[in-house]
Symmetry: none
Subunit: 165 residues, 2 copies
């Protein structure tokens, strides 16, 4: 699965349509469902995004666990209940549901922010502020990452123009 990288701001038209950045689409091109899955963030004024396989795996792993944590189960309930499957139109756009736009304060612009296996959609100004906050915090107390998983491979980040066809 491709990773979502970088931040791209696109326009939201009067119908609520917005182009999903080409690089993001590339990251999802292998999926069965051609589109994205969105749900409102529970902690930030933004929209969370991922591919359908993300939810598929979530669902699958929940069903396998006989002893599921109630917490986890409830969160899942929230996620499923508040997510929406949004297919691309033929030019790679999706229609942002009105309630999601309101939750994120999005009016006519949307910033797609890559977060690795998932991404977020922000109102551009709000995303700036958030980013500044994170930067400051990082300066004060640099966060420490986990040990790198071995052999996860030559890694294929998504970039432009890697058409193996």
């Amino acid at each position: 699965m491709g990773l979502f990288l970088s931040t791209v701001t696109n326009k939201v038209d009067s119908k609520g349509r917005v182009s999903v950045p080409a690089a993001f689409r590339t990251a999802l091109k292998d999926q069965e469902f051609q589109g994205v899955v969105l749900y409102p963030s529970f902690t930030d004024p933004c929209i969370e995004g991922c591919g359908m396989d993300f939810l598929d795996r979530l669902s699958a792993s929940l069903q396998q666990q006989p002893t599921f944590s109630p917490d986890l189960d409830e969160i899942t309930e929230l996620v499923f209940g508040s997510s929406q499957q949004l297919p691309y139109d033929q030019t790679g756009r999706i229609v942002l549901p009105r309630e999601f736009m309101e939750h994120a304060g999005i009016t006519d612009q949307a910033a797609f922010v890559g977060k690795g296996p998932t991404f977020q959609i922000w109102e551009p100004a709000a995303q700036m502020r958030k980013k500044q906050q994170l930067l400051e915090r990082a300066r004060k107390a640099p966060p420490r990452g986990p040990a790198l998983a071995p052999g996860a491979g030559g890694g294929h980040t998504i970039g432009r123009g890697e058409a193996p066809a």
Copy 2:
């Protein structure tokens, strides 16, 4: 199998008819039986819903259980005993059985809430309350563990560290 996602509120007319959200019907379109299976929730004032195949699999997995759990058995009995198979009419509506409506307190509106492999039907206000409850709990006690990859921004990215394929 498609997953049930998002929450959609539809009107219940004087005959007790309600449109099953198109997205839900899509999730069930591959099934033999064109309709849904409903049964009252035994923990919440709502109606549980799923496709026929879900019950098939439930039944199958129960028979595979090496150790027969009385709990499971009880659940099975409750589920199978109180469920109803409700076919769509030609426009994709079902007729909500009166006792189910009463159990859920539904009068003229019904909220379909996706829960992945299954869904629920609520009286809209009650569903709001339930959702708020879950939200608060999610914010207070964000689930931890290997299953969850906390995002940088106090995030709540949900994912399992499982191998991609």
